[in-house]
Symmetry: C2
Subunit: 380 residues, 2 copies
């Protein structure tokens, strides 16, 4: 990463706006990063991803390493050329997928051995290997290999695990510095399960490594929402203030507003795209289910104030029809809207922070939410 | 239909080029019409359909009548407004779907009663009802309700059936003339199974009705390819020379070249879009299966001479990866290429006819086809 600058600080909350510079362009924060697990933000072309307002996308190291494999992506000098996305890319380390997806993952001091969820083939990822694969993907922001443990975990297990994650982060840093000219960024990942003392220990140990950025991992792994928020709120101020802070794998629009207020700068989540494919669409008043019969004769757009391609062109009646009929276009039009909703929410927050009226923004945001975050019933 | 004009006649073959005028624009013939069964050409936006070179698309009356239903499409004053396609639309009559898709279809002199393949609900389509539904869809070219019978059929059954189709066509014409100011076109559908005398009888009886255009139906229903071609070759010259001639539901690129040489003007087929979704992609040398391992490390486009969005931007390696990973973008990129291939083939034929070198074009076309029409193995 070539730089990170905080351009505005809310005086009412810990929210801040900033700008990250990468070789593939600038990223204004706080930012939401759409997930493009396998080299495509599901259902969208890269032009559509850009038109939706996305500044940076996320690729999954575990998935891309297994399929198509580094030897294919190397032919294109990285993921940018392979998928034709010319903006910044962040890749995760694989740590979360060993925990959530791989079979028979076995962790030692050296690294993780696991079986592919696709063909059962055996592989070993060390911290160095994870950095090497992410370098091969030509990622602008690469993540340290971390161990993600299940919730709930004992204090002893969580402590042992976070300390391993720290040692791995140190190995990642050494290897990364040998391989690169710091043209990209290496982020550490704070672990520590739901123990405040352990989160503090993890944050402190990683801060000592003086990495270009920090993420909070191990959230949204089954714990109650309140606990997730409490851990984020506890941990965010413990991270270096001059570095970008990234909450991994979270969350709802409400989560993004609250976490931004706590000082988080970066987010990724499959929620807008996955919900889109399930017909759950975000609007200012909450979320609607396009499958609902109430939309059958509705000639209006999803959201008359939304400027996305879907809302500019199509009716709820058409979207519902496509969705009911399992037409492939449904997944695309829905995803465009939801990603646009998320990026627009972030843009509004950036403006509110710059104008130092974050609390007004937040009040407005909640006042509009009359039907709740995930109501299955749409408004009439 | 506002007009049909033949602009060029091949002296070497019966191929001809022409121009149809509709309220939604001009259609240069011979033309391939992509199929948009349910109000969407599967996987494509209307902008992409247009960019692929499509001049007119096809909608399916049976499908749209059942879902979303005329009462929904009426709110948009027709299919154009509902799906946002501003070019010409042709709709079939439902006749083929009663034969191929509906349950317990029962034909009487009055019409067809059938059960929906979606929910089992019972419906009745008369010739008048079919015209009424197609008018409600605001179709530019509407098809007479026909009876499509299974192959093989006895001479007696085929004769009885085609005569019913003629009586239904007369009823369609009467109803259509009462309802419209001939702003759209009503096409008759020739039946007669695989009997030349019956095809001739059907063509003669329908020609007597002096309809704006004629289609040949009941082909590609399980008969050998040679027989299909023989029936088309026999029937096409029997249709009025000053009217557009449409071969329904056919076919491969080779079929389109041969049928154009026989004097056909219009085609529709799910082949380019359905094959695309199955990874079968058309190129000049034949067809390749993008799933094949030979494409894994191929950094070149599907076809370096193709100007479609897919070939301009993406490699075979990326297309294979998306397809292997079941990424939704795969279906879109593949469909764009295949539809573009079909429309480009038709455009090349129109030029060859205009320049009266159809046989040269045809020889070139076959000389390039080194890997066959549907080879499962791609070229190296």
């Amino acid at each position: 990463m070539l730089g990170f600058e905080i351009t505005a600080q809310s005086t009412e909350t810990r929210a801040r706006a900033g700008s990250m510079t990468t070789l593939h362009g600038e990223i204004k924060t706080p930012v939401f990063m759409p997930v493009g697990t396998l080299g495509s933000v599901k259902a969208l072309s890269v032009e559509e991803v850009k038109e939706c307002g996305a500044q940076i996308i996320l690729g999954n190291t575990y998935h891309l390493y297994l399929r198509p494999g580094c030897e294919v992506i190397d032919l294109f000098k990285g993921l940018h050329g392979f998928m034709k996305w010319d903006g910044p890319i962040l890749t995760d380390s694989g740590g979360f997928q060993f925990f959530s997806l791989a079979k028979l993952a076995k962790t030692t001091e050296e690294g993780v051995s696991f079986q592919s969820h696709i063909d059962g083939s055996r592989h070993v990822f060390t911290p160095e290997k994870s950095v090497e694969v992410q370098q091969s993907l030509d990622s602008d922001i690469i993540m340290c290999l971390d161990e993600c443990i299940a919730y709930p975990a004992s204090h002893e297990a969580a402590k042992k695990s976070l300390e391993l994650t720290t040692r791995w982060a140190a190995r990642c840093k050494t290897f990364w510095e040998e391989m690169t000219f710091r043209k990209n960024a290496l982020f550490g990942i704070v672990q520590g399960s739901m123990y405040k003392d352990l989160r503090a220990q993890s944050a402190r140990e990683l801060a000592d490594l003086d990495l270009p950025g920090y993420a909070i991992g191990g959230l949204s792994v089954g714990e109650p929402k309140d606990l997730m928020m409490e851990m984020a709120n506890h941990t965010l101020p413990l991270l270096p203030q001059d570095k970008p802070k990234y909450i991994m794998g979270v969350g709802t629009p409400e989560d993004l507003v609250e976490l931004t207020a706590m000082g988080a700068d970066m987010f990724d989540c499959v929620m807008p795209s996955r919900n889109a494919r399930n017909g759950k669409l975000f609007i200012d008043s909450g979320a609607i289910n396009i499958n609902n019969a109430v939309h059958r004769m509705d000639t209006g757009p999803l959201d008359p104030r939304c400027s996305c391609y879907t809302c500019r062109n199509y009716s709820r009646a058409y979207l519902r029809h496509l969705f009911k009929a399992n037409e492939l276009l449904a997944y695309r039009l829905n995803t465009i809207h939801n990603i646009h909703y998320y990026t627009t929410l972030m843009a509004e927050m950036r403006i509110a922070i710059a104008e130092d009226r974050f609390n007004d923004f937040r009040n407005d945001f909640y006042n509009k939410r009359t039907i709740g975050p995930m109501s299955p019933i749409g408004p009439i």
